[in-house]
């Protein structure tokens, strides 16, 4: 696959169809992958493809990355799950479909965190999203690398995240409160969850707005709760469960739980899954007069 990828990258750069290829490369000790930006066709051999390619590179297509934008039209190496984010970005008008060349990678799963890699991809080191992936054959692409995957996701999604959400749902309100206060109290407000999220593309985040100071910047339990609830709320109906926020969290806050919970709510209430169709509006910017609820008295 790497060979096809490199050849395609070379061809795209040489023809001038794209000016930069955003992909994965090795770190110095070849133990981790890291994002690379190839502008010179001679450098395409830097590109790699393996289960360590966890990063969701669609992040670099957002407006925050002015310097990358300045390089010119990008091609992006993307797994199906990353493409879902690109689709959301297109739906939300961040750029047009033709502004990016998508090199879709057929994927057999990645590791949950790169540290877990011992040389072989086993189900126990894969994140929940990979076990339930329905886009192993990338769905919106300009070019596909890799042989078609025959994997079919289980009918009922399974995995640790789903189990934990179910478990939390079955708990009492005060138990849930205690759980989240404890988890959020570790938050150091580094905002890695926000920075790594391709959908948190606001140039000025609400936490940075201080007139008034909606979210207290201090990393105390009150400020942390407020930040984490707001972050989750802003992703309702948009989050694709790529898992980057949880992976990046230096203090292991289980953000996947809250994101997956909200994905479930949106699925249930509006029958919507984000990131599949660039023509459908995300649920929070549209409405239906027939929306059902049972709590507004």
């Amino acid at each position: 696959m790497e060979k096809t990828l490199r050849l395609k990258a070379k061809e795209l750069l040489e023809s001038g169809e794209v000016k930069v290829v955003i992909g994965y490369g090795w770190n110095r000790s070849k133990t981790r992958t890291t994002p690379v930006f190839i502008t010179d066709p001679a450098d395409v051999d830097t590109l790699v493809w393996n289960p360590l390619c966890v990063n969701n590179l669609s992040l670099y297509l957002t407006r925050k990355y002015k310097e990358i934008k300045a390089l010119g039209r990008p091609a992006i190496v993307a797994k199906g799950c990353d493409i879902r984010n690109i689709v959301v970005l297109i739906t939300e008008g961040q750029f047009k479909r033709e502004d990016v060349f998508i090199i879709g990678m057929t994927c057999n799963g990645t590791v949950y965190k790169q540290d877990l890699w011992k040389g072989e991809l086993t189900p126990n080191i894969m994140p929940t999203k990979c076990h339930n992936c329905d886009v192993r054959n990338p769905h919106v692409t300009d070019f596909v690398v890799g042989e078609k995957s025959t994997f079919t996701p289980p009918e009922v999604p399974t995995g640790m995240v789903y189990d934990k959400v179910k478990d939390l749902d079955s708990k009492s309100q005060s138990e849930r409160w205690a759980f989240w206060v404890k988890e959020f109290s570790r938050c150091v407000k580094c905002y890695a969850c926000r920075q790594v999220c391709p959908l948190c593309y606001c140039e000025r985040c609400i936490t940075e707005k201080n007139m008034p100071q909606w979210i207290e910047t201090s990393a105390h339990p009150r400020g942390n709760l407020s930040w984490n609830l707001t972050r989750a709320m802003h992703l309702v109906g948009r989050c694709t469960f790529c898992g980057e926020c949880e992976r990046s969290c230096p203090v292991n806050i289980p953000l996947n739980l809250i994101n997956q919970k909200m994905i479930g709510v949106v699925k249930e209430a509006f029958d919507f899954k984000s990131g599949y169709d660039e023509k459908t509006h995300p649920p929070m910017i549209v409405f239906s007069p027939d929306d059902k609820e049972n709590f507004i008295k």
Partner: protein
Amino acid sequence: MSGHTEHSAPTGGYEPKIMAFVCNWCTYAGADLAGTSRMEYRPNVRIIKLPCTGRIDPLFIIKAFENGADGVLVSGCHPGDCHYTTGNYHARRRWIGFKHLMEFAGIDMRRLHFSWVSASEAIKWVDLINKVTDEIKALGPFMEYKGLKATEAEQG
């Protein structure tokens, strides 16, 4: 309003503080009608009037709890009656998400109420406030949220 000092449980005549975020055209008018009709209801509610329920950012609600509210009420025009045609439909979608989020985070949902009250429903407004106030009064102050400050002290 002072969310920063009240840590101790109240004694005797505790009166809850309730924030109501209401839309200008229906619920506020309804509350106004209740007033001009000289209907009496519990005085615990502090009303904040917004142009439309579509303007009610979930952050308002979080901020209200942060600043010491024991309960929050959100209310606007009935679906179909929005002054701006669709504001409350958008709000409804948002509330569906937000309500589940707050529930999942472990907020006591007896402290967060959503309602449709039209300009003519003064009686509904009065009943609603009385019911919500009594319910929250029975619950006592929102010690969980207020206790977040104590949680910080413990960590040090």
